[in-house]
């Protein structure tokens, strides 16, 4: 365990093992979770944890933060939830997909079955599920595809049609193509080198599919530049769009104000937190051009409860 993130079980001096989780009967919780499986899926890493409570409470689009061990790390790492199982042989488990890009994620790739890992979640806003019978278009890139497959499985359970467009630079960076095909009505893959599906990037394909007029709602998950382009495409086609954003976070719980994005709500501009008001935002309301610029914030004369935008 990191020297900075204490593990409740071992720091309790009473000798008891402590509660199975810390938190309330609903909402996010913290738990020391057993690793059930580590595996590689293509170029991606996958970890499955035992956490009946998080599995029970999670919805597509939400994320967990993990206390990673590192020489000098102090902060948790956020990961969107790939899938949860509530029934069957994998009941009560939560799976994440990630790339090993830094010290924390490399440590995660060395976790073995039965290791204990410190999870907090589920955090953030989920993808809204349409109440009407519309066809959704799910656009994913890289490991951003993972939460969309979770969303697709929920849409499928509700009998809602979903088309998917999944892009990556090369074929081996397309996440779980078989699962994508199983969960969607039509699936299009795009690769920049043409090694799988269409040669090019997702935006060309998405523009073509939106032209058909079949799509009633767009969901997107991937790099911020892609989310921006997909949001603009959806707006020009007058189709609602919801995006799962990825911003650098310190706390993941809403207290540090690190992960803010400029988002319009009821005609006012706010710096909203990706971890509480997001990570799923209305892509048409995110002021993509203002990210990283000197921020402006309107006088908030409304309460967050009034911000129901859907």
């Amino acid at each position: 365990m990191s020297s900075f993130i204490t593990r409740t079980g071992s720091t309790r001096t009473g000798g008891s093992a402590g509660p199975p989780f810390q938190g309330r009967d609903s909402g996010p919780l913290r738990a020391s979770c057993e690793v059930l499986q580590y595996r590689k899926i293509g170029t991606f890493h996958s970890l499955t944890f035992v956490s009946p409570e998080i599995a029970d409470r999670a919805q597509p689009g939400q994320f967990v933060t993990i206390g990673v061990e590192g020489k000098h790390t102090v902060l948790r790492r956020p990961f969107s939830i790939y899938q949860v199982s509530r029934h069957g042989p994998w009941a009560g488990t939560v799976e994440i997909i990630f790339n090993a890009t830094g010290e924390g994620t490399r440590w995660l790739t060395t976790r073995k079955k039965h290791d204990l890992v410190d999870l907090v979640g589920p955090l953030g806003t989920p993808f809204p599920i349409p109440r009407q019978n519309v066809t959704s278009l799910l656009v994913g890139s890289g490991y951003g595809t993972a939460p969309l497959l979770y969303l697709a499985s929920v849409l499928q359970q509700k009998g809602l049609r979903a088309d998917m467009v999944i892009g990556a630079p090369t074929a081996d960076q397309i996440f779980n193509a078989i699962e994508a095909k199983r969960l969607s009505a039509t699936t299009v893959f795009t690769t920049e080198d043409g090694s799988l599906g269409e040669e090019g990037v997702v935006t060309d394909t998405v523009a073509r599919m939106l032209d058909t007029g079949r799509t009633g709602l767009v969901y997107a998950s991937g790099p911020m530049t892609m989310l921006r382009e997909i949001s603009q495409l959806a707006m020009t086609h007058d189709v609602p769009v919801r995006v799962a954003t990825e911003e650098a976070m310190a706390c993941g719980t809403g207290v540090c104000q690190t992960c803010v994005l400029p988002v319009e709500r009821k005609g006012q501009l706010f710096n909203l937190r990706s971890c509480v008001e997001g990570p799923v935002f209305n892509g048409a309301k995110v002021r993509w051009d203002a990210i990283g610029a000197l921020p402006v914030m309107d006088l908030p004369d409304q309460d967050p409860d009034d911000w129901d935008e859907l």
């Binding site: 990191s2 720091t11 650098a248 540090c256 104000q257 690190t258 914030m297 908030p300």
Partner: protein, 327 residues
Amino acid sequence: MSEQTATREGTGRRRPRPPLRPADVDLRVQLGDMVLKNPIVTASGTFGSGQEIDRFFDVDRLGAVVVKSITLEPRAGLPTPRMAETASGMLNAIGLQNPGLQRWLRVDYPWMVERGIPIIASIAGRTIHEYRVVAEKLRGLPGIVAIEANISAPHVEDGGIAFSSREGPTHEVISTIMRVATVPVFAKLSPDVTDIVSIAHAASEAGATGVSVINTLLGMAIDVETRRPKLAAGTGGLSGPAIKPIAIRAVHQIHSVLPDLPIIGMGGARSVEDVVEFMLAGASAVAVGTATFANPMATLELVQQLPEWLAERGIRHARALTGGVKL
């Protein structure tokens, strides 16, 4: 520790002193006229006003919640990226983003009062007048047990550092707040000064009840590939375990010279041992900040673990730790 000695000398020979139970440990601490039920408080800007962390546990179990700094007008804050992790610490440049005093009074304050949370209101401003106006608006509000004057926010445009870097301005802003405040006032000080004791002395002379030490240290990190600063603002405040020895030193120096000036100690505290260390250096209460980012339960765990730690050592009163370092 004194109880231990007394018992041994008195009745210890005939029957061993019954072990102290954690439930019998008195965690109460007093800072001026402010009594807290335990010495664990939150560091301003790391806990909001408590609602977010209250999703995990009842935050009224903490000694007090020091809220994120309130300014008269809403602040949009600084551009992103606002954070960079560094060795055993992190840099942040948030720029006091907050929705302003009016909204805090309308939304956050009533919630805190309803939940019975002792409130330490952190206030910030660009001018002395702004501190004064905010302090005036907080006059006599039930539930607010103290004001923490954030006169050390690390960016000049936030106003803060301009005050706590020199004795004169520190005295001026604190004495202005003292004229209108109805509750104890703590001056939050920056360690980025030549002599923090002289600044603490100026705050004390101006009438401050006590001091909160330390705020973050100004730092910087550069991405060597892009050659750009990792923070959009260029520089930011360093927090976390990396700064703890500096914080302990600052608390100790101030307490040595001004032993009657109550201190809220902070800077990288995470474990029970850290809390005890701050108190031995001279703090009466300890604020936990970056540790909450790493673990939303961090503050509650300390409230739970501190009585166990003290009981195991036969220490009946947490307040007996303050200034207990042996030199």
